[in-house]
Symmetry: C2
């Protein structure tokens, strides 16, 4: 059964893996990790289902392999931690041929290398629809994990990069009968990269984790109207976003003009950007920006402020409109 071999193929491609915490990797009932470390451990899991979270008609296999790992690594970054180990489970339909699987593996392996993550286990089974389940384990200095609770009135609200690009790309793919062959030819590579091959903000997550001034954080998977609502609920505060601060990425602006969409809708409600969303007292900004410069990381952008109360509010001109939870829902 070919699917039995996926995990061992990945292990063979990545070569012998060594990590001070790794006692036993792939090939037994369990992986064994040493407990001899003062760090706290982080654990996260995501399930991606064909037709719900991705579409094989336009998602090249190797980019899907990369994204499968990136979305879970993003959760580790969102705690301020470092991703270390991954487990990959696949339900593989027989219609996906060996070439498709080889490409998926190649992509997954390239992302493992980029993120310096070691595959320590998994499971591969048959199925009608492709289902990908990834668990990632990471570490963070003891007591330093950044949670969703912790945002305080007066804190600034920050994002680490442009929003709405993945949502625009999804619109592009769904409305233009997009196919895999079109990906390389498209005049919208930045939009497509955001959807098909997103980057986890790993270096920025670790910087924010060790920086010390961040009061709450999560990654943006469902759109800030929803993701910020999670932070506000956990922290029992309200948030106000300033429309003026949401300068759209030029490609987002151009695409929206072309197809008659409003960029701000995609920025607020579009999911899957996998940027980090965090809160911090604004007086820490100069120190943070210095730290970013030292690591050649882009400065996060302040887009709003934490208030007392409840709900997510968008301030546009003089008026504030509530937008709580008006985020992205995966399609099914």
């Amino acid at each position: 059964m070919r699917e039995r071999h996926v995990i061992s193929q990945i292990a063979a491609l990545t070569g012998p893996s060594s990590h001070p915490l790794l006692v036993q990797g792939i090939g037994d009932d369990c992986a064994v990790l040493s407990g001899q470390i003062a760090d706290d451990h982080l654990v996260t899991t995501d399930m991606l289902v064909e037709g719900v979270h991705f579409d094989c008609r336009w998602h090249p296999a190797h980019l899907l392999g990369r994204k499968s790992l990136a979305v879970s690594v993003s959760d580790i970054a969102a705690m301020g931690g470092e991703a270390r180990f991954a487990l990959l489970s696949l339900a593989l339909p027989s219609r996906l041929g060996d070439a498709w699987i080889a490409e998926f593996i190649e992509g997954f392996v390239s992302k493992l290398a980029e993120e310096q993550v070691i595959l320590i286990g998994g499971d591969t089974v048959g199925g009608d629809k492709l289902v990908i389940s990834v668990t990632v384990l990471g570490g963070v200095a003891q007591g330093k994990a950044i949670k969703r609770q912790g945002a305080r009135p007066g804190d600034g609200i920050y994002v680490t990069g442009p929003l709405g690009l993945a949502a625009a790309a999804l619109h592009l793919c769904q409305n233009q009968c997009f196919k895999i062959e079109d990906v390389a030819m498209s005049p919208w590579p930045n939009l497509l990269k955001a959807l098909l091959d997103p980057e986890a903000q790993s270096a920025m997550g670790m910087l924010l984790g060790s920086f010390g001034g961040v009061s709450a954080m999560q990654d943006i998977s469902d759109g800030i109207a929803t993701d910020l609502a999670h932070i506000c609920q956990a922290s029992r505060v309200a948030a106000e976003i300033f429309a003026d601060c949401l300068a759209p990425h030029p490609d987002l602006e151009n695409y929206c003009r072309l197809v008659g969409l409003n960029p701000i809708d995609l920025q607020l409600r579009g999911g899957e950007d996998y940027q980090l969303l965090f809160t911090m007292p604004p007086r820490r900004e100069p120190a943070l920006f210095l730290a970013c410069a030292a690591e050649s990381l882009p400065e996060p952008q302040r887009i709003g402020v934490v208030r007392e109360g409840a709900g997510i509010w968008l301030r546009q001109g003089g008026a504030a409109t509530e937008i709580t939870f008006q985020g992205y829902e995966h399609r099914s």
Copy 2:
């Protein structure tokens, strides 16, 4: 979206969970576990797909919930460890109603309680077919995890309980147009329990882990012809099973007589028994049996011997037949 609530429903049903290692459970991007422990950590993941690993026509939802956790806890037991934390991801088809989901959750929660495992995260998404992905984390005393490698020529081969019951039950369900209503009425409760509601050998796994004399171990998920082959490959040895030592469970014997099957085929090749299969020098038997008696656990049965060479051999009368890897394959 109802599926968003499955993990939080489970969290609500299990109540506030406390564990010396648990810093942050469900409700953030990641769970956080303290690193302040000398134990080694164990990690395992399994994916179960409807129509491949289970069939909702005859698998009651609450028993499927229980089994979903049990199969991964069994992997922790197979390393001699203790299961502690679980993550549950579900792809839920819309045809499964709220009552079905509530029953599944009830079963999963009852198994969490039995195994003293805390749910620390997960993901629930839409899908056409039910897919269940469970990751379990556990612990074992430093350096004491029992691997597949380590079996030595002369070691005895042991199993912790009866074999082939789950395979007989699968035959029963598949060949008698079995339905959920039939489960409670069936004259074969022991067979059905093995298939629908298997027990992980948790107490026995921990005893074998701390006992010290066990040279190799794994759980029986694919049948001993296959599972023992994994131990033998990892340990670079051969195994000889004595047909005379494979006394079938009375219900297996009766069922096989009724339908014209050979019990030894099911015992060797039937999967999903989730008993433990281990090797140990026979001189340690008296001490092990005393330890079992002290914990009111049944004595493991010796069914064969480790030899130099390669392959799995069945000795029946004077002849030895090779049966390497002639195990159970999940249906797809």
